[in-house]
Symmetry: C2
Subunit: 312 residues, 2 copies
């Protein structure tokens, strides 16, 4: 199975309003609840692709109950197995307020519950057990309050000790520390990569991130696709044309495709093509975080993958 | 006991953000959860004043569970007894996004669950049973989806048939229909009263609302206090000076004071003085919907109550 870790899971709420006007009152015309947090999104996409997937991390309170119920209720593809560790604190909510007229989104993110040292110890025990059956693991998203900033470095080391390939998708100091523990893949976006390396030139920044410890760097360049700096060289993969839609979850779909390619042992150009097509199909889906299956199949053969020489 | 009805209970969330900017992302620095809906607020204030109080209405889903847990956890004064009727649909959330710098608030209100005919029937049965022990009843707030617009008129008639004095605090068509069933008291604000009667002149509008069926109309005039049109005449009650603060819950505190005066059999000037002082003490409290007890005691003897001749 493929294991995904979401330390700061969320109950994702989407609120539709006519138009958000600060300092006034709004009637929410539509409420959608989804299980949230990057690792849960990645797992759902993997499940939809038919992969056996297990999620771990933390869930607590009535919001955590709702997240687990929503996760269990999803039926498309392979069910995702819930190995979340309970917390005393309640799982956070994230709210996307969507203006019905323009589709513009305003995001409100709760910080998440404080994790106690005992809960962190219970998690690392569970994580180590789950690694026994894992063919790959993804560590995804922000750290909730109370967890030490080197937490991802600790988990990368546990995965490497167990011989399980590990992908790290986070930002800021947790990414900086995590890279030093030598993860197999990191997947920053252009902004996160610039923040890490100080360079806004993606090729240079990706190579720099490799020197800092990541075996492979797959940088998402938004509508321009993905840039991969691997031990075998550089590749750039792009959709046939820019796609318009809701980018929520596009990065998580790319992570899912990279994990799937990793366990299937496909080569980098093939993995990147799948990741770009799945990402674009997620942007095109009317439902945030889901992917448009016919669009995925249609886009896949049309993704261009260029080698460093032609890409430069 | 005093009974309060909240058909559309809510999980009230207050989010503190640096400043709300549409179409950007916000880190919520502080989350406060409270049991919400006007009738629950009224009951909490009555409990704090030492009155035996029972709440009914609807609660469902994990949000409803949270509301009930928060209601049970409150310790100040007399505990509020929970006689809420379960629903299949989940209790709505209401979110107040407060800008930390200015204190300005942006409100997002979910519509609430659709109530089924069976749930409404279960509620009216429970309501009728509770009326047997009630010395007064307040019907508070908006109607959730699925409940017929004459619902409050139906409940006013049930209360009157049981000989229990009934206060109605709602707006729009449910208020218009409810008044025709002849409630003992209505407590509109100036805007609701104008909407009901077509007049923005409070004295004229209050008298008009009495002609439509309300025995007594207590109109809240914001910082100017309360205007009461009763069978015994008109009174206007005002705080000694305008108070600055968060007006959330000030109207609910006024309702609580009016109910307390009703069951204690005090005269109208005394009831209105308590209602104005409690309202102002609620505006002054740093916590939305709570009242500042020392401020309440200090303000009470300083509220001015004028008879119609001097008020005109």
């Amino acid at each position: 199975m493929i294991l995904t870790v979401t330390l700061n899971t969320a109950l994702d709420l989407t609120y539709e309003v006519a138009a958000l006007t600060p300092h006034s009152s709004h009637r929410v015309s539509r409420v959608v609840e989804r299980p949230g947090g990057k690792g849960l999104n990645v797992a759902r996409v993997l499940g939809a692709l038919g992969h056996e997937t297990v999620v771990t991390g933390f869930a607590g309170g009535t919001t955590g109950e709702t997240v687990r119920a929503l996760l269990a209720a999803r039926t498309a593809g392979q069910p995702v197995r819930d190995a979340l560790v309970p917390t005393t604190g309640a799982t956070r909510r994230t709210i996307a307020v969507v203006d019905a007229s323009s589709g513009d989104t305003t995001q409100l993110n709760e910080p998440g519950p404080a994790i106690t040292p005992g809960e962190w110890a219970a998690f690392t025990t569970r994580f180590t057990e789950l690694l026994g059956d894992a063919r790959a693991v993804a560590l995804c998203g922000s750290l909730p309050p109370g967890i030490h900033v080197g937490a991802y470095a600790e988990l990368v080391r546990l995965a490497r000790a167990a011989g399980v390939p590990v992908l790290l998708d986070t930002s800021g100091e947790p990414l900086r520390r995590g890279i030093a523990a030598r993860p197999d893949v990191i997947k920053p976006n252009a902004e996160e990569l610039a923040q890490l390396t100080g360079s806004r030139e993606p090729h240079r920044a990706a190579r720099d991130a490799r020197r800092r410890g990541a075996h492979t760097v797959v940088a998402s360049l938004g509508p321009d696709g993905l840039l991969a700096a691997t031990p075998d060289g550089l590749w750039q993969a792009a959709p046939p044309a820019p796609v318009r839609g809701n980018p929520t979850g596009a990065g998580d779909s790319a992570v899912a495709a990279l994990l799937a390619g990793l366990v299937d042992g496909t080569d980098w150009p093939d993995r990147l093509a799948h990741a770009v097509a799945l990402s674009a199909a997620t942007v095109l889906s009317p439902v945030a975080g889901e992917f448009d299956e016919p669009a995925y199949r249609e886009l896949l053969p049309r993704v261009t993958v260029q080698t460093p020489a032609t890409a430069a």
